[in-house]
């Protein structure tokens, strides 16, 4: 037939599989667990297939409907989007395995369709090359994320999710406003066409401001992070994992993509502002994490700090573009795996003790060794210790800063690392001791423990495949010409 296996439309499968899976879970709720798992395994296979295709043949283009830009919508996969899709599939697999035993029956039927639609939105977002299509995926993602965040049903969860909803809707509207200005300035919604036609003028500046503001709000960069800690901490554990690992990264990905492809032609100092806010986020988020008495809030504030690191790449990229951006991508990947592992482990501790107060952890290291190992391994990556993905990314960031003698940023990164170690050990230190009030331990199913360890192990393994992953990032050279020296 001429169609070989490698040419299978993997990218379309990445959209249609979770979409069909979500619809099926809604139609047949009694088997939603099985349908969900099968779907997520299918997504994993499709991401692998797409990876094979892109590594073998280079950048992947797809004209949806056969029209092509500017009339139709295009899909585009280079090394950057490929890695986002692959990490999404991996986290999705871990979180789905975890969820089988996490939710009670009545929550299973609510969780699976919402979660698979969220996965659809994430995949569609990373595949899209069209800014209005990106807006639709952002809205799909935002609404699904908010709905999932309410699943615990507590008062705090609803208040937090309400704030989250307002923040995400406001962010989307600002983004849409920017899209409107870009369309009416340059007559296209396709990123590549826009990149060609772009010229620096006052309307382009306004579009840049609106899009950046909207996406920064969604990415929760200090001081727009206010909605994140309560929303992430009060969600069910697998949902917290997805929100911190993937949803926050999705808006950052769009910001990065548009910054590189379109707005790089503006002569702006916003990169310095981003670096400044990122620095504050690192220090402030880490200090807040250190102050928390509940594990989930601690982990959520750690996300605020780690998001700060992502924004350090903007000022550093001016001189050593490829290294700084690769560091940011590496951080996205390793943080996605480590943070999802950490939230899942926190969920296990919560299930085990009936609470997540750090001070009252009762000999969990002896009684839940796999969970504590997952937390510790994830912690290694978050702190940036070798060997881990977190180490590679922070090392690359540090290197970019050292080359340019950016001593301020070097200092911030070092302090951030020390503070991260402090808040990780704050939890781990209590893992071995006996609590003043012993309690009846809850049962934690083995799948929930191993799912956390799987993801944490992934974060560590990222530390061993740096040259391979950096080579994948280079496919289609999203960051321009250059080479990363390790």
């Amino acid at each position: 037939m001429g169609i070989t296996f490698i040419d299978f439309p993997w990218a379309i499968a990445l959209i249609l599989l979770p979409l069909t899976g979500g619809l099926s879970c809604f139609l047949w709720p009694s088997v939603s667990k099985i349908l969900g798992l099968v779907t997520v395994i299918g997504v994993m296979l499709s991401a692998t297939g797409l990876g094979w295709l892109v590594i073998d043949k280079g950048v992947y283009h797809y004209l949806v409907g056969g029209w092509g830009a500017p009339l139709g919508i295009e899909l585009y996969v280079d090394g950057l989007s490929l890695l986002m899709l692959m990490v999404t599939a991996l986290v999705a697999l871990g979180v789905s395995i975890y969820s089988i035993h996490y939710f009670e029956l009545s929550y299973q039927r609510r969780f699976w369709p919402l979660w698979l639609f969220l996965l659809t939105a994430l995949n569609a977002l990373f595949l899209s090359a069209d800014i209005f299509n990106l807006y639709v995926t952002l809205e799909l993602m935002g609404l699904a994320a908010v709905a999932l965040a309410t699943l615990t049903g507590s008062h705090d969860a609803f208040t937090a999710a309400m704030r989250y909803l307002l923040a995400t809707l406001l962010g989307s509207l600002a983004f849409l406003f920017g899209v409107v200005l870009l369309y009416h300035s340059f007559g296209s919604l396709d990123i590549a066409v826009l990149s060609e036609r772009f010229e620096s003028n006052i309307t382009a500046w306004a579009a840049f401001g609106l899009i950046s503001a909207g996406l920064v709000l969604k990415t929760a960069l200090f001081p727009m992070h206010f909605w994140l800690p309560p929303a992430h901490a009060n969600a069910p554990a697998p949902v917290s994992a997805v929100l911190s690992a993937l949803v926050v990264k999705a808006s950052f990905y769009i910001l990065l993509r548009l910054w590189l492809e379109i707005f790089s032609q503006l002569d702006t100092d916003v990169d310095i502002l981003f670096g400044f806010l990122g620095s504050i986020a690192i220090i402030w988020g880490s200090l807040q994490a250190l102050r928390q008495t509940r594990i989930k809030l601690l982990v959520a504030y750690s996300t605020v700090a780690q998001v700060g690191y992502l924004f350090l790449a903007f000022p550093l990229a001016e001189k050593v573009g490829v290294t700084a951006w690769s560091a940011a991508v590496y951080l996205i990947l390793s943080h996605a795996l480590a943070k999802s592992a950490m939230f899942l482990a926190a969920g296990n501790l919560l299930r085990f003790g009936g609470h997540d107060r750090i001070a009252d952890l009762d000999r969990v290291a002896q009684r839940l060794p796999i969970t504590v190992a997952a937390f510790a391994l994830a912690g290694v990556s978050i702190m940036g210790l070798p060997p881990s993905g977190g180490f590679i990314s922070k090392w690359l960031l540090l290197q970019s800063a050292l080359v340019q003698s950016q001593w301020g940023l070097v200092g911030v990164m070092l302090i951030g690392g020390v503070l991260a170690a402090a808040y990780i050990f704050k939890v781990l230190g209590r893992a071995f001791t006996q609590a003043p009030l012993p309690h009846e331990p809850g049962v934690v199913p083995a799948t929930m423990e191993w799912a956390a360890l799987l993801l944490a192990g992934g974060a560590i393994l990222l530390g061993f495949f740096a040259s391979e992953i950096l080579a994948i990032i280079e496919i289609g050279s999203p960051f321009g010409a250059g080479e990363v020296k390790l």
Binding site: L23, P29, L71, L143, T150, G187
Partner: protein, 321 residues
Amino acid sequence: MEALALLQDVFDILLGFGLLWLAWLALFSLDLFRSIVSFISFGLLMAIIWVRLDAPDVALAEAAIGAGLTGALFLAAFAKLQPASVNGKGSSINPQKQSSRKQLLRWLPALIMLWIASGLTIAILALPPHATGLTSEVTSNLTASGVSNPVTAVLLNFRGYDTLLEIVVLLLALLAVWSIGSSVPSIESEPGPVLDTLSRLLVPILIMVSAYLLWVGAHAPGGAFQAGAVLGAAGVLLVLSGWKLYPGLEGFPLRLVLTAGSITFVVIAILTMLVSGTFMQFPPAQASILILILEMVATLSIGVTLAALFIGSPPTDIKKL
């Protein structure tokens, strides 16, 4: 001729200021009920402006969804909020009660808004007075799209993938509302004789209007979303007059109708992929029939989804498990 142009300008200015004034009332009127009524009027005025801007498709969508169903949703939420806030700690919604410190804190955002507004004004006025956008691309491919209404061509063919995701957004909203709303009381209204007669009269008319909008959407203003919204309005009227779904249909049949639009979209997308080799590429010869099938099923799903969003609480079948 000049007098006519002047008249039009005056008309435009009046419409524009009317819109801003209604928005102000909706946002800052002391009485919340009046705010919501102003918001509905705002939507209707918006629909007139869409007509004035030669966007009749948008006008229909705005009148049916923007003003109609969104307004109904707000009114229903307002009605459900009343007992809650009376029982509560006596909420201080009244802005008159706000302290002077808070009044002072309003100046800062107001100044920032003025700054943003002036920046955006400069940005918009800097745009060239003439631009074609994608008009010529749409026009030259219109014959291959299967429909002659360019807006329908964009929605269902050129950018049909957006529309697929958008239908999923609507369905997702219903799933979310059902997931959250299990414990929210549904409206138990006593249908008066007026409402009863009204719905008997209006529902068949609305269903006919919906079918008409669906049919003409191929070549004239209209289409699945407008038709679906009108169908949804018929559903809302039925619910208000005390009509209930036959319990046997509340489970799988209802869920099938709700998802039918998305499922048909996916099935047709996969079929096109098998036939033409490309996702959602409609063969020009079959495009019009495919779009018609898509729109018919989507209209039904959109209508039922919108009505279900208005009811809010899930059917008992969902609650049980």
